[in-house]
Symmetry: C2
Subunit: 683 residues, 2 copies
């Protein structure tokens, strides 16, 4: 500094200060209702401080609810019943379409293929589920604080397998939302065509609604989202029970396959019923399994004992899924129902209609199916933010993802998922058929890596019965790896044509996942690398020392109005070394400005006027700051800028343009401090 | 201030300062190649300072050219020849479609209507042009510095008529760009279908190209854009001359109206050939007149004597337009050519093909027409920014619009026009038919107001021959008012259906202009109102005085890393009254932080730790700043924030999130200064 202040010892000054303000300065703040005094120099914020002050804040709080204290986190945990609804809805809802997806592929090999293969493939899928669930029972027991594939694979296999699992899951969660919402909107569309006409808009609105529900926090969203799951389970169990009873009493009604459907299928089909087609049908059916990941990823959201509750819920979910899936496949096959080639009616709707007619019970089945399909997206809203939290905690994702919002939900993750899923939905025009081939590969990759991790775990640990445990996880690993491979191959380019390159139509398919996942991994690694290097740079001694700072202050001044004088006064109060810089429009203006300055304002410092023959404002200022900095490299340059703050946001566009560009440019100059002195326009 | 610095007299300190830095501090800067010393405390920027430093800056300069000194503005003015090409292209290019537009409406009243009415309506439009041009000769003479309808109407009739003219013109210029580009792309499309397939993209790219050309400055864009105008004029004159020669020698070739066209027109037609239809046809033809505004708005861009050159150019333009328009209407009528009901071929193309066959001359006519239609948009690029400049100068538009860029062009206006026109083009899917009904009304409104202004002018002035002059402008005013009315009524909802409301199809049409223009006027007035009130607030004495400032400095500190310590050191160098505020994650973290602080960092000031049970970061900080401010209202609170500056832009997303939100919130607190201490991450 340029004055003699540096000569006084630090301590004396602080005594002077405290002499002027007797008592503990900062405990006086506790007279404020927004703070509570905890101890000396230690305050705590009260609920009063969190009260919204703006209209927008009040709307936000009305929509999302009052903020919840961190200490209440434990009360926000999920009971098994709610967890089944939240984490199980993805899995259970897929029974609504799994049988149909199998049949649609089989029909390409001829109408007879359904009768032979539908039930065996259903049983195969359920068997895979049994193996996966058994394997995950062990995983959850070993990782009671969160058995996400990312955690297990990172810990047991290393960084790259962990990140591969994480990227696959992130990808898959986004697809879960898009696919479920698209399927739900399609179901709504067959009830009321207006939803079909505006299916992208409807989908996006549903995603927004769902994100808002989740921003309210998991427990409340559990309450909102539980009902449809149970209504669906009960109504389908009723339907299937009734159907089985009819079957056992040989009273099944007759179903006539519409002849024009048979014709259409025969036209579309004509492929040989080879292994590849059967595997493809199996891959389509295994879409239903993708929901299984949800519970293992969501273990920390369960009430204590988390792991036990999670394992029991997982068994319930698998049981319900398997029963419904087998029941639907069995009954449709017995009734010889075939899917509508034009996709106007779902297989489940045909089954219900054949069994109970189009009365109120049929309507209940249809409506609860549509609602559940939409709500299946909610599973991803519960898990994606949690996975992001794990990744952010390990610095693989931006740290914002690790903060819990007002309502204890991971707000950033919820918003990010909603945005990504909405964009995907828009890009694919809300079509389920277009999105489906991208699905499933990610989750089976994650399954495989997680279970491979468990195999490594048992191999290293070799506790009691390790061979058996290794065998269980090993079987799971092998089976899911095979499924992943089948999905990757049979759905490589099975989707809609996207674009043409040199005469070839490029179709959507699992190849897109194989491109996206590595890109995601690179992004995660780049973020981690940045945080790592920033961290090592940040832990070091300060380069500045209070007594060593010599200020050189530059105040750009366009005209000698009130905001400019305020900035000059502020600058002058920091240091006497103040330079006002004026960029002149021309020589006359330059002289006029200097005359005005010398008449009245010399007390603030010296004036430098710069002519700018090329009319630029920012360039000369930057060059001047640079020149001053070179001239006295030991001085610390502070640029003091007046900032107009108008009453309305749009009025900001009318001011500060030059200041804003100057600030943006100064950002890239090391060691220049920028101070904004606000000037509030009152009218 | 809390130290003893305030006790020293101001003068002494500056002497101390100058003692430490002998010589004139700021003239030393002139050793820098980027500055020239003009006088004591007066510098001028050299070309060296304007050299681009970033890759982006270099690309920009390569595209837009080197900056031009303000003093060279006079050399950038336009000769009559270039001005005719720039300001006349809009008007002259409309001869390519004006006859066809008249015929298309007439045909709705039966095939015979063409023969009777095409030529009379053409003559009517040309007559209106003669009246308008005569009237404008007087306007330009009276307003040699710019005869824009905005200026004339403001000065002679008052604020509201002036703003109405301005808003109408702004609106019309945007439409000029969209319509001309769409028409040009359509012409390109009939040469190569790929342009038709991607017509919106092609249109947007052309707008970008045109904006770039104009950012290079008017003279150079004159050179770029002159050629096609003259090629068009010459080739059409050649074509028409040849046609007239054939007619005079009774050697006109035979043209057979395709029978299926006649049928189609008969099906489409069937309306009574009443007055309304004839007026509608006239309104369609008068689209061609809209280009007339350009020269009067652009007077200041002419070489001196501006007004004389502008008047001569206006006469030339009108002569060329009238000759071509009459020639095309005459020859097509003589040959009995009818427009293609499917719009696959233009009338002009049919005429050229009939007269000269499909040889190279035909191709020349087609290509130059397409190019000229695209370049007609350039008229708007020359005039919209100039009108914006006039409005910005009068504070009706943001002041940025009044700055000339590097190349002496009004950059903001050019960019704003390009963005608006591109959005309009996208919204209307690049269709000329959809855009046309919105066109023309604005420009005739402006014509009427401008000439009404001139009537008032002569009435007040009553110089020599004022009765005659008033008569001329009065006739112009009446005629253009009638045309405006005809356009408003006949095109009220003549466009494409836009959307449905309660069973009614809402069509595009002039009603949209009647909605847009008042909205624009309201915006202009709101901007002016804001600047007016800001101005009165700014001219006043400073509320702060250097010696009166008592600092209270708050430094939010998340962890005691290098950037935080740097901010603390900076804060401490301004004042000893520094409070570090730490928002704790929980009680343990709070205690750990305090222990660390007390061990090593007490020299920087005092520490306040705030627990935040609702996990918010910004809310407690704001509440604390507020509490401190209330406690000592006389202190000036400065918040010092460390700002991370990573090497790559994307890395910014990983830092500063809290600082950014805090800054945004502090903006709305009067009287809080925000200082950013940058911390550059080097890796």
């Amino acid at each position: 500094m340029h004055d003699d202040r540096g000569a006084d010892p630090e301590l004396d000054k602080r005594e002077v200060l405290h002499g002027r303000h007797p008592g503990d300065r900062y405990t006086r703040v506790t007279h404020d209702v927004r703070f509570q005094r905890v101890g000396p120099g230690h305050l705590s914020v009260t609920r009063r401080a969190e009260e919204p002050k703006t209209t927008w804040g009040r709307i936000r709080q009305a929509l999302l609810g009052l903020p919840i204290e961190t200490a209440r986190e434990i009360h926000e945990r999920l009971t098994k019943g709610k967890a089944l609804a939240i984490f199980g809805s993805d899995n259970i809802s897929s029974t609504a379409y799994a049988t149909e997806e199998i049949m649609r592929i089989l029909l390409l090999g001829g109408i007879a293929a359904i009768a032979t293969w539908t039930l065996p493939l259903t049983i195969a899928v359920v068997l895979v589920l049994v193996i996966v669930v058994t394997s995950y029972q062990q995983t959850i027991r070993a990782y009671p604080k969160g058995a996400s594939a990312y955690i297990v694979a990172s810990k047991e296999l290393g960084r790259m397998p962990g990140l591969t699992a994480a990227a696959s899951l992130l990808n898959d969660y986004v697809l879960t939302v898009s696919v479920s919402i698209a399927a739900g909107v399609a179901a709504l569309g067959s009830l009321a065509p207006i939803f079909y006409e505006h299916r992208v808009l409807t989908g996006v609105l549903l995603i927004i609604l769902m994100a808002m529900g989740n921003l309210r926090g998991i427990r409340e969203s559990g309450s909102i989202f539980s009902a449809p799951t149970y209504v669906y389970i009960l109504s389908i169990f009723g339907l299937l029970g009734y159907g089985i009873a009819l079957y056992l009493t040989n009273a099944l009604p007759a179903y006539t396959q519409p002849p024009q459907w048979i014709e259409e299928w025969q036209e579309e089909g004509g492929q040989a019923l080879g292994l590849l087609l059967i595997l493809r049908a199996f891959a389509s059916g295994s879409v239903g399994l993708s929901g299984t990941k949800a519970i293992s990823d969501g273990v920390p959201a369960f009430k204590s004992p988390e792991d036990r509750n999670a394992r029991i819920t997982l068994l319930w979910m698998a049981g319900i899924f398997g029963t419904i899936f087998l029941g639907i496949s069995f009954l449709t096959e017995r009734l010889h129902i075939i899917p509508d080639p034009d996709e106007a009616e779902t297989l489940l709707s045909q089954l219900a209609r054949t069994l109970v007619g189009t009365g109120p019970f049929y309507l209940l089945v249809q409506v609860s199916t549509a609602m559940l399909l939409v709500l299946a997206a909610n599973t991803a809203f519960a898990d994606f933010p949690r996975l992001s939290y794990f990744l952010a905690r390990d610095s693989y994702m931006p740290h914002q993802f690790s903060h819990r919002g007002d309502r204890l939900a991971f707000s950033t993750g919820i918003v990010a998922l909603a945005v990504a899923a909405a964009l995907l939905l828009i890009a694919f025009s809300g079509s389920v058929t277009a999105l489906i081939p991208l699905y499933t590969l990610g989750v089976f990759t994650a399954f495989t890596l997680s279970q491979a991790g468990m195999v490594a775990h048992w191999w290293r640990q070799r506790g009691s019965g390790w061979r058996w445990k290794l065998g269980v996880n090993g079987t799971g690993c092998t089976i899911t790896a095979v499924v992943a491979l089948v999905v990757a191959v049979t759905k490589f380019a099975a989707g809609e044509p996207l674009f043409e390159v040199g005469g070839f139509n490029i179709h959507a398919g699992s190849w897109m996942v194989m491109v996206m996942v590595p890109l995601l991994i690179l992004m995660l690694i780049a973020i981690r690398k940045h945080y790592d290097s920033a961290k090592t740079e940040l832990v070091a001694e300060t380069p500045l020392h209070p007594s060593g700072v010599r200020h050189s202050i530059i105040v750009p001044v366009a005209s000698l109005n009130r905001p400019a004088l305020q900035s000059l006064a502020y600058a002058r109060s920091i240091s006497p070394n103040v330079t006002a810089v004026h960029i002149a429009e021309g020589p006359e203006e330059a002289q006029a400005f200097r005359r005005l300055w010398e008449k009245t304002h010399t007390e603030y410092g010296r004036l430098v006027v710069i002519d700018s023959p090329y009319r630029s404002l920012v360039t000369p200022l930057l060059a001047y700051i640079d020149a001053v900095d070179r001239q006295d490299p030991d001085d610390l340059v502070t640029v003091v800028l007046p900032e107009f703050v108008p009453k309305h946001w749009w009025e900001r566009l009318l001011h500060n343009q030059t200041a804003f560009r100057l600030k943006a440019a100064l950002l890239f100059r090391p060691g220049t401090v920028v101070t904004n002195v606000p000037y509030h326009l009152r009218r």
